[in-house]
Symmetry: C2
Subunit: 255 residues, 2 copies
């Protein structure tokens, strides 16, 4: 396997070990997974609604959205995945896709066959546990998304989304000012927040004039992180991203 792909699996492994305790052997089983790299164009579905898949997709670079829609055709993004995320880990236990997966910008993804994941989890139950746990973090994010869309005004929703993305993309967060790449259109922000692109545009203008954040074509310029967190009513706890080593979990055969 080319070294670059091992590095990509390392990113995923780091994600797992940030929350779960794995032995060296178990970690190696992740790194040994067979992969197949693929380039996906912006706005192109790589998993269609209802499709039965036989592999999971690990994002190496770019952004991927999970799309649902109602019968009138209005689209709603129910999750945004970033590099290091397994976009459809749940497909291991539920191969029929309940949502479409689409690249928001050009993305590189690694396909990993279900069969390889299954073989690894059969040999190492702790891996199944770690994967299950990772799925539950996605569910916690989804739950927060419901609160955001259901109970917040446009300004809060958008600020919250930007805070979440800055955090998950591991932006160099500083209290003063910093920048992070976030290549999405205002229409995509609208689809994620349950708004119209017109209103997103107006709210982004407000956030800019307030001196909080400037969302540009190729990047987001955060001018006042603390202010943005307040505006977005953001508490990063639910992302479970900074778990201390002694708090990481393992319920299967404790070491």
């Amino acid at each position: 396997m080319p070294r670059s792909e091992t590095r990509n699996l390392q990113a995923f492994l780091d994600r797992l070990t940030s929350r779960s305790v794995l032995t060296g052997e178990e970690q190696q089983a992740i790194l040994d997974l067979p992969t197949h790299a693929e380039q996906v164009d912006a706005n192109s579905d790589f998993v269609g609604l209802g499709e039965i898949v036989d592999h999971v997709s690990l994002i190496v670079s770019g952004l991927v959205g999970r799309f649902d829609q109602n019968s009138e055709g209005s689209r709603q993004i129910t999750a945004i995945h970033v590099a290091g995320d397994m976009t459809n880990l749940h497909s291991v236990v539920q191969p029929q896709a309940t949502s479409a997966l689409q690249a928001l910008s050009v993305a590189t993804i690694l396909s990993i066959p279900h069969s390889a994941i299954r073989a690894a989890t059969a040999r190492h139950p702790a891996l199944a546990e770690a994967l299950w746990r990772d799925c539950m973090v996605d569910a916690a994010i989804l739950s927060q998304w419901v609160v955001n869309v259901g109970r917040c005004h446009a300004r809060t929703r958008i600020a919250h989304l930007l805070c979440e993305m800055a955090t998950r993309l591991k932006a160099p967060v500083e209290r003063e000012a910093f920048t992070f790449p976030f290549l999405v259109t205002q229409t995509q922000i609208a689809d994620a927040t349950g708004l119209t692109s017109v209103h997103v545009n107006r709210v982004l203008k407000v956030l800019r004039l307030e001196g909080l954040v400037d969302v540009q074509r190729r990047a987001v310029v955060v001018q006042d992180w603390d202010g943005l967190m307040v505006a977005g009513d953001f508490d990063p706890n639910y992302l479970q991203m900074n778990i201390q080593p002694e708090e990481r979990l393992r319920i299967v055969r404790p070491i």
Copy 2:
């Protein structure tokens, strides 16, 4: 163990086997789980936000809501659980609660220690898989909830919620008219749909005048199921409730 509690576990086992293939031995392991029954008053939290739990809660009767809230204190229900549901199965791999659990009406729940679940899954990996799969169905429901709240008008949201509940409560669905018990207040419907109780009241009146459904104190009277499904843009597929035996899954050590 009293026979009644075995019956309750049977309801949960039926839920699992409706989607996953389990051997007789594995099924018996579920029925053998130790339980402890408990009565919970309406509007009382039995799991608080951030609390670390050491047991899961199986609903025997009543309704339970999963509550989140933003810092302004407005509440959002992110899930409604019915009899036979394990309200916090995810706590097995993630013991710290990211949402509070509250009974919407008087409820009876069975507590099952994590340790017992862990012992069962350690002996029977297929059980871990079945539980994981069950968690993913909850996630699919949550995803649909985002679409509902993010992209639908009040009338559609409420109709959708009523359709979902009728289906999950296994109401005797008929095209003509039928009734099912659904003891929630209009404020609780508002918390679930991201609306205010005043607006819920007005929309329920509209649905009643349209001859679709009459939401009363103790029950919901559906007058036109087909019409209600159209109004709610409801497609029951995502609930994964009628899976044919040959489509049920087992990836661990196929029988």
